[in-house]
């Protein structure tokens, strides 16, 4: 188990490194650079030369990547283009804000999804299940920017209960994000609940129909005991990976939601930095998102393994 953990961690690090190279190459082959993006039509002559020299863009790409990688390994992610602030600090605030949004959505969404999914499965094909399943499909198929705009229209423009757009600065204390953060959390909850709920529902239904569940019922185990002791532990195992993917998606910065709500999170910063050709920031965020994906997936596999003894010993039996 330990060796597997080591092997997976090493693979994870290699993945993150590859991602940093891919992102670097990707941004490099886009037309234009940080200076043409900033100067627009003034990107000519002396102005352009000076700008490129100031940002060190006059050196070959491999040299810039090497320098960035060496700094990044020693924990220095560079400074912002105005030279005033550390990128780690700027990105840090954005990461914190994304975490706030993600944890809000996770805290609301996962319990809700588990509850609704289980109940819908137990009451399969009854009115409750039909309503929940239909709503879930609707929530999944309507693009998130549409549901976001609809919620803004209803709760902000018509009812005036909560602000529609987030106007708080990225480095403001967390408390100042309330109540502005509620609508984005609601939209995220809607989308992620729908996904998880459907997995939970089908998994529970499948397990309910399994031989051992039927056997338990036949030998006289009370229905609720059968559900809680035999069905749910087995049914919820496959959902761990879906939940993990959803969490990784949330932590990676939900670009569309952050743009619609003007939320100062990682996703919007990523988009802005790409359009500004601000490579150090793009790279820093890519590193974070890649690490989150690798880390959360590793954790999910470990959890599944802990919960399922058969997987734990699979490699032993193979020998």
């Amino acid at each position: 188990m330990l060796s597997m953990l080591m092997r997976r961690s090493a693979l994870g690090l290699i993945t993150v490194w590859l991602v940093s190279i891919i992102i670097f190459i990707g941004v490099e082959i886009l037309p234009g650079d940080a200076c043409t993006a900033f100067l627009e039509r003034e990107a000519q002559g002396l102005l352009l030369e000076n700008c490129r020299r100031d940002l060190g863009l006059d050196r070959p790409a491999w040299m810039r990547y090497g320098e960035w990688a060496a700094n990044a390994l020693s924990g220095n992610l560079g400074v912002s283009p105005d030279g005033q602030r550390q990128i780690s600090e700027l990105v840090g605030y954005r990461l914190r804000n994304t975490l706030l949004l993600a944890s809000g959505a996770i805290l609301c969404g996962i319990p809700l999804a588990l509850f609704l999914g289980i109940v819908a499965a137990l009451w399969r094909d009854r009115p409750f299940d039909i309503i929940v399943s239909t709503t879930a499909i609707a929530a999944m198929t309507i693009p998130e920017f549409v549901s976001a705009t609809l919620l803004i229209l209803i709760f902000s423009v018509w009812l005036g209960w909560v602000p529609g757009i987030v106007l708080t600065s990225s480095n403001a204390p967390l408390a100042e994000f309330f109540p502005e953060v509620l609508l984005p959390i609601a939209v995220l909850t809607l989308v992620m609940t729908a996904h998880i709920l459907r997995t939970v529902r089908s998994s529970v239904i499948e397990t309910l129909a399994s031989d051992y569940a039927q056997m338990a019922l036949l030998k006289g185990v009370p229905y609720w005991q059968m559900v809680f002791r035999h069905v749910l532990p087995n049914a919820l195992l496959p959902t761990i990976n879906v939940v993990a993917l959803t969490i990784a998606w949330l932590l990676g910065g939900v670009v569309v939601i952050e743009t619609v709500f003007n939320y100062p999170g990682l996703g919007r910063m990523m988009i802005d930095s790409i359009s500004d050709r601000d490579l150090p920031v793009t790279q820093a965020i890519a590193l974070i998102i890649a690490s989150v994906y690798v880390g959360v997936n590793l954790l999910a596999d470990l959890l599944t393994m802990v919960a399922n003894p058969r997987l734990r010993t699979a490699h032993l039996r193979g020998k």
Partner: protein, 493 residues
């Protein structure tokens, strides 16, 4: 007795609402955060957030409601006989926000900073003809020009030419100290920048106590913020969006004709566009009113290939109806009886470009002009496509007539996007600059525009009408472009 009292109270109340009104309320607007981390309060840097600098700093001269030069920090000006030496009298007793007093040295410093090549200011091109800036005494400055220029005050209205304290160049990007009606409290380009009323403003205390300028990059999010009452004004609403505002009494819409133009550029130095008859045919094939209706939803003023805006005092009145027969005849005369094929390069950088290109494609087809629309990426458009390819789209923001004609059409202009080289045109502009008599000068500028209509390679079908949406609580907002608005008059309920 009671009567007298109530009369006094009434008089006091009246005085209270007019002369010594306390600034009240907060006015909130958004900016696009277009320069990201390079956003700055330095008025002459490329990253200047003009939505902030225009409220905290003043110019020497500003446009009045008709776009003509009016006093700001300069109260009067005069030129010598050949308009090569200009003297400006400065307002007395004006204080900067940090308590220091404003004087001639600050003007000399601010203008020299723009002119210094080491500072790389994009504003330098606009006033490059200024050779020397000198302080005559504490409230008088003298500008010496390298050539005669009769409309210097027009150029000094440029939104970037704002006065800052002497020696503040290294700190101005974050301190934003000026003499404007509002004073900076904190600068946060990506979040909320706060300003408070400058009670010592030389034209009296402003109408609102505070202003918040908020960074919202996404246009849709800005509209949502306006609809939801989180901001009070949004400038540049599209015709489609305006329906949402005009149907509600919580909002008002101002329609402001601007000098901002969009167009198609054909390089005059390459075949087939090097033949003036081909260029004429290309422009005659356009039905401009149809373009205004189809592309802009009616929100524009037809232009006949002149960059000079509809409200400019030097605008030429030209008539330019579509003339397919004449276009065909001209093409045949130029040796293209079967018409021509054009690759027109279009990006979505400006959202209306693709629509404009498609409308032109349809209209020009009747004259045998077969337009092939080439989609190019927005990234790198200005460096790899514009001024590189033979036929491209373009857009410019309002400039005074002289600047618009000089920066884009003169043979030696850095931004001569159509590679237009015409000695007659250059001479007309040079003469106009030196002509001190207004009517004669105006005649020359009009002649120059008519010359463009005859020979230019740039199709300018219209000038954009800007839609400004405000919440109903906003009062006294001048219905003019940003650079002319008197922000100290704005009030909120």
């Amino acid at each position: 007795m009671r009567k007298t009292l109530s009369f006094t109270a009434m008089a006091l109340a009246l005085v209270g609402t007019t002369a010594i009104a306390e600034p009240t309320g907060t006015f909130r607007q958004a900016h696009e955060f277009g320069f990201g981390a390079q956003s700055s309060l330095d008025p002459i840097s490329k990253g200047r957030v003009f939505q902030i600098t225009e409220k905290i700093m003043s110019r020497l001269v500003r446009p009045d409601m008709d776009g003509r030069p009016a006093p700001d920090l300069a109260t009067a000006w005069s030129a010598n006989a050949d308009a090569t030496e200009w003297t400006f009298s400065l307002r007395d007793g004006v204080m900067f926000h940090d308590g220091s007093s404003f004087g001639a040295e600050d003007v000399v410093y601010s203008l020299q900073r723009v002119l210094d090549p080491a500072n790389d200011s994009p504003a330098r091109a606009a006033i490059a003809m200024i050779d020397r800036v000198e302080a005559v005494d504490a409230t008088t400055i003298k500008l010496t020009l390298s050539a005669s220029f009769a409309d210097l005050p027009l150029l000094l209205m440029d939104y970037r030419l704002r006065m800052i304290p002497e020696g503040s160049g290294d700190t101005i990007a974050t301190t934003g100290i000026g003499t404007g009606p509002f004073r900076l409290v904190n600068f946060d380009a990506e979040g909320t920048t706060r300003l408070v009323a400058n009670m010592d403003y030389f034209e009296g205390p402003p109408g609102v106590a505070e202003m918040e300028i908020i960074g919202i990059p996404d246009a849709q999010a800005r509209l949502q913020a306006l609809l939801g009452g989180q901001i009070d004004m949004e400038r540049g609403i599209s015709a489609q969006q305006s329906v949402m505002l005009s149907s509600s009494d919580r909002f008002n819409i101002q329609m402001i004709p601007t000098g901002n133009w969009r167009g198609l550029v054909f390089r005059t130095d390459v075949a087939p566009f090097d033949d003036v008859r081909v260029r004429q045919a290309l422009r005659l094939a356009a039905d401009r009113q149809a373009m205004v209706d189809l592309v802009m939803g009616g929100g524009a003023v037809v232009a006949c290939d002149t960059p000079v805006g509809p409200r400019d005092q030097y605008r030429a009145q030209i008539d330019c109806p579509q003339d397919i027969d004449r276009a065909r005849a001209l093409l045949a005369e130029a040796g293209f009886p079967d018409g021509i094929d054009i690759d027109l390069h279009v990006a979505t950088l400006e959202p209306t470009w693709p629509v404009l290109a498609e409308v032109y494609q349809q209209q020009a087809a009747a004259a045998g002009i077969r337009v092939n629309i080439v989609q190019v990426p927005t990234d790198g458009f200005w460096s790899d496509v514009w001024m590189q390819k033979d036929a491209v789209t373009t857009r410019w923001n309002e400039r005074p007539a002289d600047q618009a004609l000089n920066e884009v059409y003169v043979s030696t202009a850095r931004w001569n996007e159509s590679y237009y080289r015409d000695a007659d045109f250059d001479a007309l502009l040079a003469n106009a600059r030196q002509e001190l008599d207004f009517d004669a000068r105006r005649a020359l500028y009009i002649q120059a525009q008519e010359h463009l209509w005859q020979t230019a390679g740039t199709l300018i079908p219209y000038h954009v009408t800007r839609l400004v949406g405000t919440s109903a609580r906003v009062g006294n907002l001048d219905a003019v472009e940003n650079m002319s608005v008197r922000w100290h008059l704005v009030t909120v309920d």
